[in-house]
């Protein structure tokens, strides 16, 4: 089972490498912020589910709070050397 998992993981990683090689350098750079924009969209959907009566401004503020918490977690767990 462990071998199958490892094999599947390697296959998935190789698939990502092949996909990235088919992209231009510009496409690879733009993918970063665009993927993040997609993440923000999905997080906002989750927040709207949690807080159906919240305004878009409140949803956006909650999103920023979540990212602030995440940033705090990152800097606490991995202090910059």
């Amino acid at each position: 089972m462990q071998e199958a998992i490892a094999r599947d993981a390697r296959f998935a990683d190789l698939a990502k490498v092949r996909q990235a090689r088919r992209m231009t350098a510009e496409e690879r750079v733009l993918a970063g912020p665009r993927l993040f924009a997609g993440v923000c969209g999905r997080m906002k959907e989750g927040l709207r589910d949690e807080q159906p009566s919240a305004t878009e401004e409140e949803i956006h503020r909650m999103l920023l709070q979540r990212f602030a918490r995440l940033k705090k977690l990152e800097t606490t767990r991995h202090p910059i050397p």
């Binding site: 733009l30 993918a31 924009a37 920023l64």
Partner: protein
């Protein structure tokens, strides 16, 4: 301002118009050379004096909120400035070029490339690998290790200047983590050979 890429484009235009020396660092550079991943921030290394910082900020639109608090990095003795774009939410971090030997070397070796249809300065893929391994070792962040592996995988074994990478990894005490990263990237190189 609707997207992180717009924010980066605005900053690049300002830096280019002012003629400042800079380098796009962090995940934007590793994404260019490796397997892209989502990124919520853009890092820039700048070689400018304090007065030039104010000139740069004066050029930026109101959507850019410059953190009034400049932080001072004790280890490198350099400043770090955060610019937020709350609408989107995206973060831009500006770092002063330090006197650290590898920092100096990678800045000297930076390349003028096209990024978002603009002339932009980026580190070489070798320097991205060295820097990411250094951070991976020092800060124990798996994403830095993964970024180094992804750059190796995409660039290819024969395309990289390994003596250069090994020289700096020896300086930084990261030869062991370099070996681990190469082992992780190797299946992608074998994939090349199979083609």
């Amino acid at each position: 301002m609707k997207t992180g890429e717009e924010a980066v484009a605005v900053l690049l235009d300002a830096l280019n118009e002012l003629g400042f020396d800079y380098m796009v660092d962090g995940s934007f550079s590793s994404n260019r050379y490796g397997v892209p991943r989502a990124t919520k921030d853009a890092d820039f290394v700048l070689r400018i004096v304090a007065a030039d910082r104010q000139r740069l900020f004066a050029r930026l639109p109101d959507a850019f909120k410059v953190d009034p608090q400049v932080s001072f990095e004790m280890v490198t003795g350099t400043w770090r400035q955060i610019i937020q774009v709350p609408e989107i939410p995206f973060l831009i971090e500006l770092f002063e070029l330090s006197s650290d030997p590898h920092d100096q070397s990678r800045f000297f070796r930076r390349r003028k490339l096209t990024l978002m249809s603009r002339e932009s300065w980026l580190p070489t893929p070798e320097d991205v690998i060295v820097q990411k391994l250094r951070w991976s070792h020092g800060a124990k962040r798996s994403k830095d290790f993964d970024d180094a592996v992804s750059v190796m995988a995409i660039q290819g074994e024969t395309e990289l200047d390994w003596p250069y990478i090994e020289k700096w990894c020896a300086e930084h005490g990261t030869l062991e983590v370099l070996a681990e990263a190469k082992a992780e990237a190797a299946p992608a190189w074998e994939d090349d050979e199979a083609d």
